[in-house]
Symmetry: C2
Subunit: 253 residues, 2 copies
């Protein structure tokens, strides 16, 4: 078995900034990540061992290890006892994140627009109450939006939120992602669980999404929780499958 790139690694000059509030391990990790993504350290490269690397940067070994571990968690390198640290395919830019569709589209260089179809207070149905973990018939906010990219309909988003979460209005919603607005109120988002499926569009949905009759839609149901384990949002969404797919990257740790 021949090594893809057996070369030892001489990292470009780099010194940490000990006056910066940014942790040293993070400065190092960031630097190495940039070097990998820029192609300066190609796939297959074997790093110097961590002891020498720590010494040459004037850091302790635990700090150096922490930087390395950060890269492992991101899937950028693989470490093996007795072998070393090797750069792997930098394919996974980011692991799965809790992103809003808004951000996804912006990142893809498209211009998302949002139309708020309705924004009302309603009594929670049994399904909504169960997901949000509130008593049935509790008053919650229901908001329905259409998200378009370059004018084309991408998704119809229906969200339910507990009353106390909502401190914004239609105007804010048309301009900002829902998560951004929630976070802005000091809510710390912690986790989410999402279910993806498919079904055929009803006639009304097809019209709304500019799709042919009977078109296949991607469906998504998502519940988001804050760091107290409280459900802060339940979403029930449909996506035009001809214009949007979900990408999921994962590590096999």
């Amino acid at each position: 078995m021949s090594e893809p790139t057996p070369g030892l690694d001489a990292l470009p000059r780099f010194v940490v900034d000990r006056t910066s509030p940014v942790p040293l391990y993070y400065q190092v990790a960031q630097h190495l990540e940039d070097a990998i993504h820029s192609g300066a350290v190609p796939t297959g490269t074997l790093f110097q061992n961590e002891v020498d690397l720590a010494a040459s940067l004037g850091l302790s070994r635990p700090t150096m290890r922490r930087a390395m571990q950060h890269l492992v968690d991101k899937g950028l390198v693989v470490r093996r006892r007795g072998i070393g640290t090797r750069v792997v395919q930098p394919k996974l830019r980011r692991s799965l994140e809790l992103t809003s569709l808004n951000d996804d589209l912006t990142r893809a260089g498209r211009k998302p627009t949002t139309e708020v179809l309705s924004f009302e207070r309603v009594q929670a149905t049994d399904v909504v109450a169960e997901r949000l973990e509130v008593p049935e018939a509790t008053v919650v906010h229901e908001l329905v939006r259409i998200r378009r990219a370059d004018g084309e309909p991408i998704a119809r988003l229906i969200n339910y939120l507990p009353e106390h979460i909502v401190a914004f209005d239609e105007l804010d919603l048309a301009e900002h992602g829902l998560y951004e607005l929630i976070r802005r109120q000091g809510v710390v988002l912690h986790s989410a669980t999402q279910t993806l499926g498919a079904r055929t569009a009803t006639a009304a949905e097809a019209r709304l999404m500019s799709e042919p009759r009977g078109a296949a839609l991607v469906t998504a149901q998502r519940v988001t929780y804050d760091d107290h384990g409280q459900a802060v949002e339940f979403g029930n969404h449909i996506y035009a499958s001809s214009r949007y797919t979900f990408e999921i990257n994962l590590l096999t740790t």
Copy 2:
């Protein structure tokens, strides 16, 4: 703001086994995780501070911290400087993993069966070649399977694998998950990228999946990489949306 469960935490008697090959931090993390999942340490509980906890277990603080960090990574607790470590809703049993459909079904208590429709060596089409990162028209293995649960068709799985990966036969495939067979050959799976979408079934597909004509199918395309960044598998799958959905749990860190 009143605390959900203000009680300090008195952990049940527990001593680490210093003769075990299992790392101490892992023993501690496992013990705490069990305590959380069993309900012995309910949601909202505030842990003792890590210094005392370390002392009471006869461990150093870094080791205790490492155990804690493990729980944070799993989404079981939240830590805040100046506040403490709090148990959150243990909803996320496991984050997103690279599981085979086989395992998913077995875990759900259903009986998966696999029928191998074909298992041949073919020349890679341009799409397949691109995903597997091999030259066009390279010979690869193509295998087509139907996965059923309790007799009902759930998915049609089409996979392409580089020739050197395949050291198993149809019989193995009918009994074991594909990933299991790949791993058994010493291949270390590292990461995968998956795209989920939807489309309507063709007449043949509808028949195969016991679905009505024009039914919506969930589509999935997945490429799996080993720890050298080599693509080891490309899958192009369809799922009966009436019988299967994808569940995705994620942390917002």
